[in-house]
């Protein structure tokens, strides 16, 4: 009788829970050990002066005061981050929207374009930077300077020299990121039911009007996600600068991420470097919240 009242499948539930825990346990433990714990530690280290070799000394907010002091490299680095967020970001978004909309119009060869534009995205960012170093090279292998030579220019342009580097990164960044956002936006566009467009066409709406009044509002959530991706990507920009400056960026080219790397691993100023990382965290958090808030609209459903 007791056996009969027992909830059927109780053992199985327990086993299932154990099963789930045993699968979730290792990744959670790994995440906690290698991500959460070091991240929390970063907050602690940012309050110390520490060279990583001797005992840390408590300085309270001293590192943060030094960061915002005049002449510090922090503000130029933020300026560079903002440049790398908004200049390539705006171009990437516009081009990605344009290409996605064009491909969505089922033009001939749309599939090919989709693959061709997405292709740079599968190359790692370091490889992309190395590739563009060759494109920009001032030696004989430089594609761009070779073209300029054919056009009659006698002296090569030092595109990757530190004074020009940020501008040189713009086309590279747009080239490598547009495909991803195009595919993201295209997927959103393809989810919009065709009937809306049919109705609009019956009402005589132009292509531009359809884009403005149907496509854009109905893919707004995805666009917001795209903007957040671009902002976060711009604020933690590291790879291309690091590779194109051969691991030693200067004040003209430092971003927050390369600056914190340089402070921690090249100058052994670990407290100061982690204070920069804390600021970077706060900036990314604030920028994400602000952009989500600014782009908040009433959700449209179909």
């Amino acid at each position: 009788m007791r056996r009969a009242t027992r909830k059927p499948g109780g053992d199985r539930d327990r086993n299932q829970a154990l099963f789930v825990v045993s699968f979730l346990g290792p990744p959670v433990a790994l995440y906690a050990t290698f991500v959460l714990w070091p991240a929390l530690n970063a907050f602690r280290y940012s309050l110390y002066r520490w060279d990583g070799l001797s005992e840390p000394a408590w300085v309270g907010l001293g590192n943060f005061r030094a960061i915002v002091a005049t002449g510090s490299e922090f503000l130029p680095a933020i300026r560079n981050n903002l440049f790398l967020t908004f200049v390539p970001g705006a171009l990437t978004l516009s081009l990605a929207l344009f290409f996605a909309y064009t491909v969505h119009q089922r033009i001939p060869g749309a599939r090919l374009f989709r693959i061709a534009f997405f292709f740079p995205n599968v190359i790692s960012s370091v490889a992309v930077a190395l590739l563009w170093i060759l494109i920009y090279s001032t030696t004989d292998v430089g594609l761009l300077n070779g073209l300029l030579r054919l056009l009659g220019r006698t002296e090569p342009i030092a595109f990757t020299e530190s004074g020009n580097l940020l501008w040189a990164i713009v086309p590279m960044s747009v080239w490598s990121a547009t495909g991803f956002f195009m595919v993201l936006f295209l997927a959103a566009m393809e989810n919009i039911p065709e009937t809306y467009y049919e109705a609009a066409r019956l009402d005589g709406a132009s292509s531009a009007a359809q884009f403005r009044h149907i496509t854009l509002p109905l893919m707004w959530d995805v666009l917001t996600t795209g903007v957040v991706f671009l902002i976060v990507g711009g604020l933690k920009f590291f790879d291309a600068i690091f590779v194109m400056e051969n691991g030693r960026p200067s004040k003209t080219t430092h971003t927050l991420a390369t600056l914190l790397y340089s402070k921690v691993f090249q100058e052994y100023n670990i407290g100061y470097g982690t204070a920069i990382s804390v600021m970077l965290f706060l900036l990314v958090l604030a920028a994400t919240l602000v952009s989500l808030r600014l782009m908040r609209r009433e959700r449209l459903e179909y």
């Binding site: 346990g25 060279d51 030696t139 090569p156 030693r248 052994y268």
Partner: protein
């Protein structure tokens, strides 16, 4: 079946947890019960590799049956050592890209003086210290003790291809006037006078410091090294910066400021640029690219007309420094092995095998050396003394934040030499005022025997 799967998963989980939780803190060196002492040596594995170090270690073991040398190398040896220094479990001896001055001041290094004042290997009538080329042990002296010993001798020279010079009737210049005239002749021939490693503006620092040395007596040169107030805005320093800028603007190969060291050196090897300022590692770095018939030779930074500096001093000194850690398990044995690495016999094999120079006096005598090295030896033989910068080792922040940017701007003609000098002076002032940055007592002009 499902039970079995669950048990397997649990077992795997346990294993994974164990792997995360238990990081073995075991030491690589452990004195065995046999009484054999194991000395752990970590070596930066760069262009010169670690084969020479290994061969010396094998010879040392044969000579010292009670000691085993556990020698390993890695291009990123510093990253491996750093956490171990912190855990007070460092290797015994290391040559790594570490902030040696920070280590000295933090008391992490073991002084080498006891070993330096003991008889040298192979030259027992002299102490180890006496066998070293004067000046090469001076870079890491602190409170009267020596904390690092170099295994290489560096020199900063201008390299050229003798064959190309012969073809066009060019002569290595001795003065700045001769140098600029030569550069003009090269330009007229359509050959860029100088290749430059522009992605690393720091390559200009040794040349600039050499030009400054040509202009002023050593008292003033070392006053700048001691960060004396006003040293960088000294009119002669501004003049040296102006010569450097002139060299960059007029004679660097077009586009050089966007070239890496290998790209620019390749331009030189291919004859599109006639000369390049570099250290002795140049040949090793470019050896696979140097074409047959290329005759690599060098001359020192030219003397500047009207300068008050020693025309025969040479920018150079100890390089590839080794230090013994204070927390080493066997510091005395490690220092002894370092002494052995710098015995006359090891120094000779270093010179022959790696085709570069050793800081042990007389190590090039009586052995076959390459023509390139002969050219360097000729420059060294004529030199009265060596000098080299220590600011960038001592004040890492000044080097990384002020110096690098200011040099890039000077060479790209974005700032005037005066502005360059003012920026350096401001950086020096910030360093002087920062109580957290260690400043050694002014060292003045180091004595040489």
């Amino acid at each position: 079946m499902i039970d079995l799967r669950i048990r397997t998963t649990q077992a795997l989980t346990a294993l994974a947890m164990a792997a995360i939780g238990v990081v073995p803190g075991c030491s690589l060196t452990r004195a065995g019960s046999s009484g054999v002492v194991t000395v752990e040596v970590a070596v930066f594995e760069g262009g010169y590799g670690i084969e020479w170090h290994k061969s010396v270690a094998r010879r040392y073991e044969a000579d010292h049956p009670g000691v085993r040398i556990n020698l390993w190398g890695d291009p990123r040896v510093d990253e491996k050592i750093r956490p171990r220094i912190l855990r007070r479990n460092p290797p015994d001896l290391a040559s790594a890209n570490l902030p040696v001055w920070k280590l000295i001041v933090a008391g992490k290094l073991y002084p080498l003086d006891e070993a330096l004042d003991s008889p040298a290997y192979g030259q027992t009538d002299r102490t180890w210290r006496e066998t070293m080329i004067p000046g090469t042990l001076g870079d890491f002296r602190y409170d009267g003790r020596t904390y690092a010993a170099p295994t290489a001798l560096g020199a900063w020279v201008c390299w050229y291809d003798k064959r190309q010079f012969r073809r066009y009737g060019w002569e290595p210049p001795r003065t700045w006037g001769e140098f600029t005239r030569l550069c003009e002749q090269m330009t007229a021939r359509g050959i860029a006078p100088l290749a430059f490693q522009g992605k690393y503006p720091g390559y200009a620092w040794a040349t600039l410091l050499s030009l400054y040395q040509r202009l002023v007596p050593f008292e003033r040169w070392y006053a700048m090294q001691d960060l004396q107030p006003g040293a960088f805005v000294d009119p002669d320093f501004v003049r040296a910066a102006s010569l450097m800028q002139q060299m960059a603007v007029r004679y660097f190969q077009p586009g050089a400021m966007a070239m890496t060291h290998t790209e620019s050196q390749m331009e030189w090897v291919n004859g599109r640029a006639a000369m390049v300022f570099c250290g002795l590692w140049l040949k090793n770095e470019m050896k696979s690219a140097i074409p047959a018939g290329f005759e690599m030779a060098c001359f020192p930074v030219p003397m500047v007309e009207g300068g008050k500096g020693d025309p025969n001093a040479l920018y150079g000194g100890g390089a590839e420094n080794f230090c013994v850690f204070a927390d080493a398990k066997h510091p005395r044995e490690a220092a002894d092995f370092l002494k052995y690495l710098l015995s006359i016999e090891s120094a000779r094999s270093y010179t022959i095998e790696l085709d570069t120079l050793s800081p042990v006096a007389g190590s090039t005598e009586g052995i076959p050396i390459s023509k390139e090295l002969q050219s360097v030896v000729a420059v060294l033989d004529q030199s009265t003394r060596v000098f080299q910068d220590r600011i960038s080792n001592l004040y890492l922040e000044f080097g990384a934040t002020v110096l690098q940017q200011a040099q890039a701007d000077l060479l790209s003609n974005r700032i005037t030499p005066g502005e360059f000098a003012r920026r350096l002076e401001a950086g020096a002032e910030a360093t002087r005022r920062n109580p957290d940055i260690y400043k050694p007592r002014p060292m003045g002009v180091p004595e040489i025997r």
